[in-house]
């Protein structure tokens, strides 16, 4: 459904996207993960025809993003990182305009509008001005709008950025349901790794415009090499880990150590007996955060983007 080959975008001396090759099949939910400025939005911008690539090729739904812009645009729906619904229009009016922009056949517009409004549970508020909506409702309206014209591929740039956890959970539920009910391919970016883990069938970790790793979340987590055992201990001595074959690696902390252990549930006893007296121990499965650390050498922080999009809606209200 989406294919890129050595896709590159340079802004002057800066290479924002550096030779990315990807292949995403029909019906897949694909997550692009990475810190701010890693090139995720630039990559998506090229795929949705807003930005011409410097070199390389990309096709969406079989159409080249440079040569067949119009066909690509007809095939895709986009949920932007920043708000793009009009607050001075009602929810329904926003959808109506969308239907007109996409020249949808008149007879199916009404029906489809009710359908997508129902899907995101906005039917009751459809005739209110968007400026009276909450952040989560706006986001759901944008989702509904992105789906109006039956796109084959849906691009979502940070669909949950700046929303509270409760709303985020709801949005992801919608997304999963949509993917299933409408059988669409979804490419999304997100800051929230745990959410990507739960939702995406495949993910790619992007850093400095390049793919650091790609695969199913399960596979990637497996590749970390085990489970994480976090131990609090005063005066931890690395020597005690020597000769323990199941220790993949460890990282000393201020108040203890984090050890990557193969089959922790089997080897924990032995590990603890080697280490001696401890204050506390915590065992968890490797997460995408660990994957991220493994491939980029950086701790993943859930930075707030360049300011949450919801705040920007508020500051733009004086427009």
């Amino acid at each position: 459904m989406i294919e890129t080959r050595e896709l590159t975008k340079k802004f002057g001396p800066l290479t924002a996207v550096d030779g990315i090759s990807l292949e995403i099949g029909e019906g897949e939910i694909f997550g692009l993960l990475g810190p701010n400025g890693a090139g995720k939005t630039t990559l998506i911008s090229m795929l949705i025809t807003l930005l011409p690539p410097t070199s390389g090729k990309a096709t969406v739904n079989g159409f080249d993003v440079v040569a067949r812009k119009s066909d690509v645009r007809k095939s895709i729906g986009v949920v932007f990182q920043e708000p793009s619904v009009d607050d001075l229009l009602t929810g329904r009016e926003n959808l109506e305009l969308h239907a007109m922009l996409y020249a949808m056949p008149r007879e199916i517009r009404r029906k489809r509008m009710d359908e997508v409004l129902g899907l995101v549970e906005l039917a009751g508020r459809a005739d209110d001005l968007v400026k009276t909506y909450s952040g989560g409702m706006r986001r759901r309206l944008e989702l509904a709008r992105g789906l109006m014209h039956h796109p084959k591929v849906l691009f979502m740039d940070e669909p949950t950025l700046g929303l509270d956890p409760q709303t985020r959970k709801h949005i992801w539920e919608y997304i999963l349901r949509l993917a299933k009910e409408e059988n669409i391919t979804i490419m999304l970016t997100t800051h929230y790794l745990d959410e990507a883990d739960a939702v995406c069938r495949k993910v790619a970790i992007i850093d400095f415009g390049r793919i650091a790793a790609t695969g199913t979340p399960k596979r990637l987590k497996h590749d970390v090499g085990g489970d994480i055992v976090a131990i609090k201990q005063k005066g931890f001595d690395p020597k005690c880990l020597e000769g323990l074959g199941f220790v993949a690696k460890f990282e000393a902390k201020a108040d203890g150590v984090e050890i990557t252990v193969r089959d922790a549930h089997k080897n924990l006893q032995k590990l603890l007996s080697e280490i001696g007296d401890i204050e506390s121990v915590e065992v968890r499965e490797a997460s995408l955060d660990d994957v991220f650390f493994k491939y980029t050498g950086k701790k993943y922080r859930e930075e707030g983007g360049e300011g949450g999009w919801a705040e920007r809606v508020m500051s733009s209200a004086g427009r």
Binding site: I48, L51, L97, Y102, R145
Partner: protein, 256 residues
């Protein structure tokens, strides 16, 4: 054929959006009227009490009225176009830019929306003109509306071009000081075109607004310097590069 119809509907959709937004932002309509009213009442009355223009049989307030109407269109149009800078900062415009619609059609829809805004504003000013006793006939109304429509097309396109090329809100000030005010002051909105020093005459002739003021002054008071058809043709001529420029600005837009 279906493609063309789809394109037309897209233009209509963008126009409709602009009109809905405009009519719901009452503050914008009201504030856009303050400036012209100040010119007419404060400047027109004040200066008119002391100044008589030779060979002009109408009072100064009436004399500058066409110029102030055109100025109102100028400001509304250019400002409207430059709002695009703001739209681009947020993602309001991207929804339109990823739709299967040519950039020229996006520009046309936006442009017609801006022109309609100006026309709504002009109609309010016509009511003021009526109250001031300015002679309004079907003929003068028709010529004025056509003139303002053409100036609206020209200036909205120009504003959209600025909006497309420039990227900071601060450039607003730049355009106002270096484009909008000069275009207004050199248009003869406040003074007759006859008996000017040669350099000033030259500058006024290069200003599209000159022809608009002239046409409307001609239609209302019979005080035109050029034939009215020539005025209209001149403005139409200015529209062509303006639309081309706007279209070009939009075609290269989309950078995130």
């Amino acid at each position: 054929m279906a493609e063309t119809l789809g394109g037309l509907e897209g233009i209509y959709a963008i126009w409709l959006r602009e009109i809905k937004v405009y009519t719901r932002e009452k503050e914008r309509i009201v504030s856009s009227l303050v400036n012209p009213l100040l010119w007419i009442f404060a400047f027109g009355t004040g200066l008119g009490a002391n100044v008589v223009i030779p060979n002009v049989p109408v009072n100064y307030q009436h004399y500058i009225f066409p110029g102030i109407m055109v100025m109102a269109v100028l400001f509304t149009s250019v400002f409207y176009g430059m709002y695009v800078i703001w739209d681009r900062k947020l993602d309001f415009l991207k929804e339109v830019l990823v739709a299967p619609l040519s950039r020229t059609n996006v520009l046309l829809g936006k442009m017609l929306g801006g022109v309609t805004d100006s026309m709504i504003q002009a109609c309010v000013l016509f009511a003021v003109a009526y109250l001031l006793g300015i002679p309004l006939t079907p003929y003068s109304l028709a010529v004025s509306l056509l003139t303002m429509f053409l100036i609206g097309v020209c200036m909205t396109s120009l504003g959209l071009a600025f909006g497309g090329f420039l990227s900071t809100i601060e450039s607003f000030q730049l355009v106002i000081n270096f484009v909008v005010w000069p275009v207004f002051f050199f248009s003869g909105a406040l003074f007759p075109l006859t008996g000017l020093p040669p350099w000033l005459q030259l500058v006024t002739y290069a200003d599209p607004l000159t022809y608009a003021v002239d046409a409307m002054r001609g239609a209302m008071f019979g005080l035109n310097v050029f034939p009215i058809w020539l005025d209209l043709a001149a403005i139409a001529l200015f529209c062509i590069p303006a639309i081309a420029l706007g279209s070009f600005a939009f075609s290269r837009m989309g950078k995130i």
